[in-house]
């Protein structure tokens, strides 16, 4: 048994995917992995904060919360309880581009997931009292995650300054006043417009067999009509900034200074995406890479220093660098060290070894993700959202083909002074 598997799957970064489509437009992807009797059900809706109407920021996320509040068939607030009774867990998350709901459940209970998800795609209750209670919950979530976390609050402000007027400038959770203004009718309208089989896809992974499961999917989802035409935001092309800007946050809660700089950057599958991905890895893919090595280890002026690039977005978004200033050190020195690193890689291509390291990390990351049928489905879904799950292999191919000169060129093109928005977090209480 083991020997056969070894021959069939030598170091493959992607698992086999089997796909189906219902007449109403719902696509279903299967990724089988029978090592343990657990199944994952994920449903991905093509709706996120990018789709929100002005003045209603946070409505995608608000609706995600409401999706757990019940349907006439299953009753009020029972979804999670029913899943947990079977030994499963469920949750969901909302992003700028999509909203994803999932259950991890013993495979003999997968029928429940299918029935629940099909029912709440169409028959959500949205009771006014539940909307009000959930508004309170979401406001507490915003207080916890943003209002009382100075670094995240700074990033929220910097991203807003850099992205405006594109809808990505709004935080996914929404601004407090706008969360307050979302009505039950707003939610119902949004639900009607975006929650339909032709605007979603399903991924089943783990201990699942398509031949057994497809009839159940057809039975539960098959009769749900497509919503048809919906207004979709036209895709934006890359808007590079034409002037540096800065944001300063003076914070009572902050204890250490920090600096974050973001640069507007293209998203997958733009050709520069691969080089930017490698660039972020060369700058901050572990303690041996440039930012940690220089700012934290050698200069000892920061307690952390990182680069992030989330390339899987519908529209162009951001490439970010950040660092927390070590106690007693100068924020200007830290900012200069970051810009020095940018200048360095823009003027001189990385070494062959650095490039190889970044590629190795990407390849290994894909293989490690396969150890969890949830992560495997997650990766697959992210690429499906970005244009098709097969792009996952193209992605690795793209990463492998990046040259050292392309990495430098990407830094020169995007990490420029004019394209930069910088945020400073300054504690109000002077540090000792």
């Amino acid at each position: 048994m083991f020997i056969f598997l070894l021959i069939l799957a030598p170091l493959s970064a992607s698992a086999a995917v089997e796909e189906f489509k219902l007449d109403n437009g719902l696509r279903i992807l299967f990724i089988e992995d029978h090592r343990i009797p657990i199944a994952n059900f994920q449903i991905w809706y093509r709706v996120g904060s990018i789709d929100e109407p002005a003045g209603k920021s946070g409505i995608s996320h608000f609706l995600e919360h409401m999706m757990f509040k019940g349907t006439p068939r299953f009753g009020s607030k029972t979804f999670s309880l029913l899943v947990q009774k079977k030994g499963g867990i469920d949750n969901a998350f909302t992003t700028r581009n999509y909203t994803m709901y999932y259950q991890k459940i013993p495979s003999d209970a997968i029928k429940l997931s299918i029935a629940l998800e099909a029912d709440r795609m169409k028959n959500l209750m949205l009771q006014p009292a539940d909307v009000e209670a959930e508004r309170g919950v979401i406001m507490e979530e915003r207080r916890m995650r943003y209002e009382d976390d100075p670094q995240r609050l700074l990033y929220e402000k910097v991203a807003a300054a850099a992205m405006r007027p594109h809808p990505y400038y709004r935080p996914v959770i929404g601004w407090m006043e706008e969360i307050a203004s979302i009505s039950r009718d707003d939610l119902a309208g949004y639900y009607g417009a975006y929650y339909s089989p032709d605007n979603a896809f399903v991924i089943l992974s783990g201990d699942v067999k398509p031949a057994e499961i497809m009839p159940l999917i057809k039975k539960e989802f098959g009769a749900i009509p497509p919503a048809g035409a919906r207004i979709r935001r036209p895709e934006t092309t890359q808007p590079l900034k034409e002037g540096a800007r800065t944001v300063r946050l003076d914070s009572e809660a902050a204890r250490l200074q920090s600096v974050v700089m973001v640069f507007n950057a293209p998203s997958f599958p733009h050709r520069d995406h691969f080089a930017l991905d490698i660039l972020s890895s060369i700058l901050s893919g572990g303690k041996s890479t440039r930012l940690y090595r220089s700012l934290v280890y050698e200069k000892k002026i920061a307690i952390n220093a990182d680069a992030y690039y989330e390339g899987l977005n519908r529209d162009p978004f951001l490439f970010a660098l950040s660092a927390t200033v070590a106690p007693g050190k100068d924020i200007r020195e830290v900012e200069k060290a970051l810009t020095d690193e940018i200048r360095l890689i823009a003027s001189k291509p990385p070494t062959t070894e650095e490039l190889r390291k970044a590629i190795n990390q990407a390849e290994a990351g894909f293989i490690f993700a396969r150890d969890s049928s949830y992560s495997e489905a997650l990766y697959t879904g992210m690429f499906e959202m970005a244009g098709g799950w097969r792009l996952k292999d193209k992605y690795l191919e793209g990463i492998r083909n990046v040259t050292a000169e392309q990495v430098s060129a990407a830094a020169r093109r995007y990490l420029t002074e004019e394209n930069r928005t910088t945020g400073y977090l300054i504690p109000k209480k002077a540090g000792k």
Binding site: L5, S80, A133, S288, Y297, K300, F368, R370
Partner: protein, 447 residues
């Protein structure tokens, strides 16, 4: 020379023949060996993916520290990665980063772990570095200063997080001078006192094969693992008698700690509340009754009473949970919740009412059944990935749950009765004697 050769031959013989006791478990085909040096090795073969995860557990934690050197166990573990006799700190990170693997150390209230994950093709590199950092750490003064400065900065940054402050102050009050009352990192003052000598001594005393458990999971055959252990860990020897596992201070009951309620002023929009008291040890025979009771109270996410009432019905929080930290010694029972400052009093009152209710009324038949269904049904998810399996098995061995634990787990849960749960609630909950820490804005707090 002659002697040395003999030892090696003997070691291999022992490895391969003597103490191998394979047995089959329902979910995992694991093999447990005890090596000549006293190291316990547990091996699970999984060949579907070309990856290997290994976790080495060392029975060393703040339990073995002196209070005025709090953070020694943590610093020892972190410094393993900061240089050896033949590798600089930067060599270690570069070699691991280059193969896209991970090598991490971590310390909790009871033990230290060193965790390695690598692709199969890099297993030699992985074991080579693992063995090097374990056996030959340099604990150099220069790296120690660097590490202390970084940790001090990190602890300062943590002061920004109201949840961290609430948790830290709560633990202090529940346990007093006992090590469970401290953060494993130590604090700024205790860290400053740690010297290279302290680390060398702590490492020498506690990092011994007869004080450790190694679990290896993944694409590795039995002979391959034996070969790796022979090559990389055969020279790991214990010298002298294993020290008795001292406990730094006698476990103190939280009963005498005053005041019971502490309010810490901070300019935040939410009150962060921690409440609870001392709890149970992992070896407590009532452990499973307590698990079920806690699932119903606040451990069961959306299925728990606290979430249903305080989040679901009242919309007063994003998250509320209760947990029993069942450690080697009785750990803490805690409830954590955040709510806007103005609602802190209502949330505390309602939470205490729910503790009273479960203590006096117990759980319903339906709640009992739901909790059991979840605890049994969710078990396989705890051992899904190689890393999870390695973590699970090291803890299973450390807490002496028995080699047949995985098979028996279901029965442990199913045999708990409603009466057991009521009895456990009565015995281990006390809403009238809670320690409550609130970090909030005093001007806005309503308590």
């Amino acid at each position: 020379m002659e002697n040395r050769k003999k030892t090696i031959i003997l070691l291999s013989a022992i490895l391969v023949v003597l103490l191998s006791m394979p047995f089959a478990a329902d979910a995992l085909d694991m093999r447990k060996d005890s090596l000549a040096g006293g190291l316990t090795v547990i091996h699970v073969e999984r060949h579907e993916l070309p990856i290997v995860s290994a976790t080495l557990l060392i029975k060393a934690s703040p339990l073995q520290e002196d209070k005025d050197r709090a953070g020694t166990a943590h610093m020892t573990a972190k410094m393993l990665l900061e240089g050896t006799a033949k590798r600089k700190a930067t060599d270690i990170s570069h070699q691991m980063d280059f193969i896209g693997g991970s090598l991490e150390t971590s310390v909790n209230d009871d033990f230290t772990t060193v965790s390695l994950s690598v692709l199969k093709k890099d297993i030699e590199t992985g074991f080579d570095i693992l063995s090097d950092i374990l056996l030959h750490p340099s604990f150099s003064d220069g790296e120690l200063i660097r590490r202390k400065t970084l940790l001090t900065g990190y602890l300062k940054k943590m002061e920004e997080a109201p949840s961290y402050i609430a948790g830290r102050e709560f633990q202090k009050r529940v346990f007093g001078d006992f090590s469970y009352g401290r953060q494993v990192t130590g604090d700024v003052e205790s860290i400053s006192g740690i010297s290279r000598f302290d680390l060398v001594k702590f490492h020498e005393t506690w990092y011994r094969p007869d004080n450790s458990i190694l679990v290896v999971v993944g694409d590795l055959g039995r002979d391959e693992l034996a070969g790796l252990i022979r090559k990389y860990l055969a020279s790991w020897k214990a010298t002298g008698k294993k020290p008795a596992s001292k406990v730094s201070a006698q476990f103190a009951s939280s009963k005498n700690i005053k005041p019971r309620k502490e309010i810490i002023d901070m300019d935040v929009s939410q009150a962060n509340i921690m409440m609870g008291h001392s709890g149970i040890a992992r070896s407590n025979p009532d452990y499973y009754s307590v698990q079920i009771m806690n699932y119903v109270l606040g451990g069961g996410g959306f299925a728990s009473r606290l979430m249903k009432i305080i989040r679901g019905e009242k919309g007063l929080t994003y998250s509320i949970y209760s947990s029993f930290y069942a450690n080697r010694h009785p750990g803490r029972f805690e409830i954590g919740v955040q709510t806007k400052n103005e609602a802190a009093g209502i949330v505390i009152k309602e939470t205490i009412e729910q503790i009273r209710r479960i203590r006096t009324e117990g759980v319903t038949d339906e709640e009992l059944r739901d909790a059991k269904d979840f605890l049994v049904g969710s078990f396989p998810r705890r051992i899904e990935t190689g890393q999870k399996v390695a973590g699970f098995l090291t803890a299973m061995e450390f807490y002496e749950l028995g080699d047949d634990y995985i098979e028996k787990y279901r029965d442990y849960i199913l045999k708990v009765t409603k009466e057991d749960v009521l009895k456990a609630a009565g015995k281990y909950l006390n809403e009238e004697d809670m320690i409550i820490v609130v970090v909030g804005n005093k001007k806005k707090l309503k308590l």
